[in-house]
Symmetry: C2
Subunit: 187 residues, 2 copies
DNA sequence: ACTGTTTATTGACAAAAGTCAAAAAATCAT
DNA sequence: ATGATTTTTTGACTTTTGTCAATAAACAGT
């Protein structure tokens, strides 16, 4: 599973370091439509998606939801711009379906940085991964048509297509829902 | 200057820490059209733009340049995906005009992490800043028309408009150059 | 199972954006 | 300064995408 994150093999934590890490993390079950983070609140935790699907979104001035991200199994939920510098979040993160997470709060994660210096590197690596994803996503907006973006999305996130309503995908891809409905029909 | 990065006031380095930091950084002059980083090479340094303007871009399969970023005075040049994990860069970074940088190589920056733990935090903060910029940029693609994106770009980067050719701005904004030329005429 | 609500599809049309090609303007190198 | 090259503008046209509104389908709660 290439897209799954494995702290041991991907980031080279030793057995002991893993032990310490797991002691800091707690399992957390989320019900569908339950909020992991609400707009205006400070994100006090990081979550790792053991199983499930979550969605990040914000509201425009005229009240429409814009979906910014999907968190699939094996990905890390970090609200940059809220977690690291502890400022109120501009986005909401909500469970699309019942999900199983491992979470750690701000204080405990900070302690991990000190206890396990390798965590500084992991944090940088995670930021790198996110960064590369965002660069890729931007490049898609720069170079691809609506149809091409949708096709790529289907290829990249086949499970998301099945579970998430079309209007969320349409706002994620920056395509009007009527247009996306027609694009989808053509396939 | 809100958009300028100041290691002392923005990131809370002490006087001594600043001294150590500056000893690690070297001044570097760039001529217009000189490459800071070339596609396929590993980025061996971070650059801070004291004065000037640089541009990051990549080539599509059919050979056209897609501009991904402008580095204005006061911003940090880090090629994520090349510097942190030392893999070959997918993008080029070139000076738009003669520019003055402060640079530090990979090894020296690593030493800074050890000598000045605060640099770990700075690195996270810089990643946060970049991250917020990218989220904002993506949101613009999701919600704005070509004209709106161009107007916002003019407001956000008035100096870039003056210095960079229209085709670079057009690829940066994901707008055909002929379309952008017409948009510009209307203002 | 029924009702209200949300979501998706469809049609008719409008607006936005892209394409191709040619001309004009600007820039560069000698 | 001049010719070559690159960049920008413009016109005529096509394609893509959005808008509005109505209908159909799916879903949720009782």
């Amino acid at each position: 599973m290439q897209n799954k994150i494995d702290l041991k093999s991907n980031f080279g934590l030793t057995h002991e370091e893993l032990d310490v890490t797991f002691k800091s993390y707690s399992p957390e079950s989320m019900l569908a439509n339950q909020y992991f983070l609400k707009q205006g609140f400070v994100s006090d935790k990081i979550g790792f998606v053991k199983e499930g699907l979550l969605r990040a979104f914000f509201y425009t001035e005229n009240g429409e939801e814009i979906t910014t991200h999907f968190f699939t199994t094996g990905s890390y939920i970090i609200s940059y711009g809220s977690f690291n510098n502890q400022t109120p979040s501009k986005e909401n993160i909500i469970a699309v379906e019942n999900s199983e997470l491992m979470t750690v709060n701000y204080q405990k994660q900070k302690e991990l940085y000190l206890k396990i210096p390798q965590w500084n590197q992991i944090c940088k690596d995670l930021a790198d991964i996110k960064s590369r994803e965002m660069i890729e996503r931007t490049a898609q907006f720069q170079t691809l048509t609506a149809t091409e973006r949708y096709n790529l999305f289907c290829a990249d996130f086949p499970e998301v297509i099945k579970k998430v309503s079309l209007r969320h995908i349409s706002s994620y891809l920056g395509i009007d829902i009527a247009t996306l409905s027609r694009i989808r029909k053509k396939r």
